[in-house]
């Protein structure tokens, strides 16, 4: 029989296979970004704000890491519900903030009177802050296609910690507050836009407006009181 020379194997398609694999891994692999909790420190000032008792949700932790809500001992998981109750807009409940009504008309009227005020006092910083706030509210009204109720400007969740409270307690309290807040935001988002809040992407312009609108209704307002010893 004839002995034929063995043909060379064609390796031309090897590169294709390699690229296929490369692209597969490129698409399926995700990098984990470091996970963080973000916070903004307040400006250094000695001014004491006088806050209306009913506009403040007071959360405390003592040196033994025991939690108190509005002056009474509580479990750390209770914070979530307390925050939800504080933010939920039911008018006329005693010891709850007096929520402000926001509609398109109110926004426009307020902006107009602020405009006039700024013409008289062009450098008044408080008016400018107010103007910014109301512009955002007007945008929110447009995004929702209607009005809403929100917390008054000076309403806040206040955290009081002892100097000996441990860091893990502080983080857990912040986490509980954010869990409560985010679940409210999520149900509002489902209600108004039909998507979950987490899935909105702040790099997309239309989503960005939605995020900003929802944040107007449920703003993150956390105040840390300094060096007060809690009993």
């Amino acid at each position: 029989m004839a002995k034929r020379e063995v043909e060379e194997i064609n390796a031309g398609s090897m590169a294709d296979i390699a690229f296929l694999l490369l692209i597969f891994f490129l698409i399926t692999t995700t990098m984990n970004l470091p996970q963080v909790h973000e916070e903004r420190l307040p400006q250094k000032s000695d001014v004491e704000f006088l806050l209306n008792e009913r506009n403040v949700l007071q959360i405390m932790a003592n040196k033994n890491d025991k939690i108190g809500i509005e002056g009474e001992f509580a479990e750390i998981t209770d914070i979530q519900n307390a925050v939800k109750k504080f933010y939920q807009h039911k008018v006329g409940t005693p010891n709850q903030p007096s929520y402000i009504e926001v509609t398109r008309k109110i926004c426009e009227d307020t902006l107009e009177s602020l405009e006039n005020a700024l013409n008289v006092y062009p450098d008044a910083p408080l008016f400018k802050i107010e103007q910014d706030a109301w512009k955002k509210r007007l945008d929110a009204c447009i995004a929702f296609g209607g009005g809403f109720q929100t917390l008054p400007n000076n309403a806040t969740v206040s955290i009081q910690l002892d100097n000996s409270t441990t860091y893990v307690t502080y983080m857990s309290v912040l986490d509980q507050i954010m869990q409560g807040l985010n679940s409210l935001r999520d149900s509002l988002c489902q209600d108004k836009f039909g998507v979950s809040f987490e899935r909105l992407n702040d790099k997309v312009e239309s989503d960005k407006q939605k995020i900003s609108a929802i944040r107007q209704v449920y703003p993150k307002k956390i105040m840390k009181e300094k060096n007060r010893s809690v009993q």
């Binding site: 004839a2 031309g12 490369l22 973000e38 916070e39 307040p42 250094k44 100097n163």
Partner: protein, 153 residues
């Protein structure tokens, strides 16, 4: 001479090595893509990080200063602060360090917007230490703080 020569030795064909670079590149790319760079770690302090549920991704391409607060290895209750590479002895060093950093135009441009103070803090740290660092940050007008945490499933 026969029609079918038997005497001539048949040579094996050379194995093609054309695909070798492909394989090598494939491996290279695979490792390039799957490698996650480890977060900056402190070698001088022991830190047991906190795990919470509501976390956000840290932005990419930020300018940051890194603070570690944790235990000195081998000692029981000696909590110290490490700023970038060195342990600090006095809290006022923080302000000096940040003021120096701000003179660099790369940092001063983003100071109010994309300059972060990344905190990695041990669970058991007392808040007094964190507060002292915060006070220094306020002095240096560096208000953005992020706490590096683990995400709880």
């Amino acid at each position: 001479m026969s029609k079918f020569s038997k005497g001539k030795k048949r040579k094996d064909p050379a194995i093609s090595t054309a695909a070798l670079p492909d394989i090598v590149f494939m491996l290279l790319f695979f490792f390039m893509v799957t490698t996650v760079f480890k977060e900056k770690e402190s070698k001088k302090l022991e830190i047991d990080k906190v795990a919470i549920k509501e976390t956000i991704d840290l932005e990419k391409n930020i300018k940051a200063s890194y603070f570690w607060i944790g235990r000195v290895p081998g000692k029981v209750d000696d909590f110290r602060v490490q700023l970038d590479d060195d342990l600090i002895n006095d809290y006022s060093e923080i302000k000096d360090y940040l003021t120096e950093l701000r003179k660099n135009p790369e940092y001063s441009q983003v100071w109010g917007s994309r300059f972060f103070n990344v905190f990695k803090v041990d669970k058991k740290t007392e808040m007094r230490i964190v507060r002292k660092v915060h006070d220094e940050l306020k002095e240096a007008e560096a208000f953005k703080v992020v706490y590096s945490v683990n995400r709880e499933k």
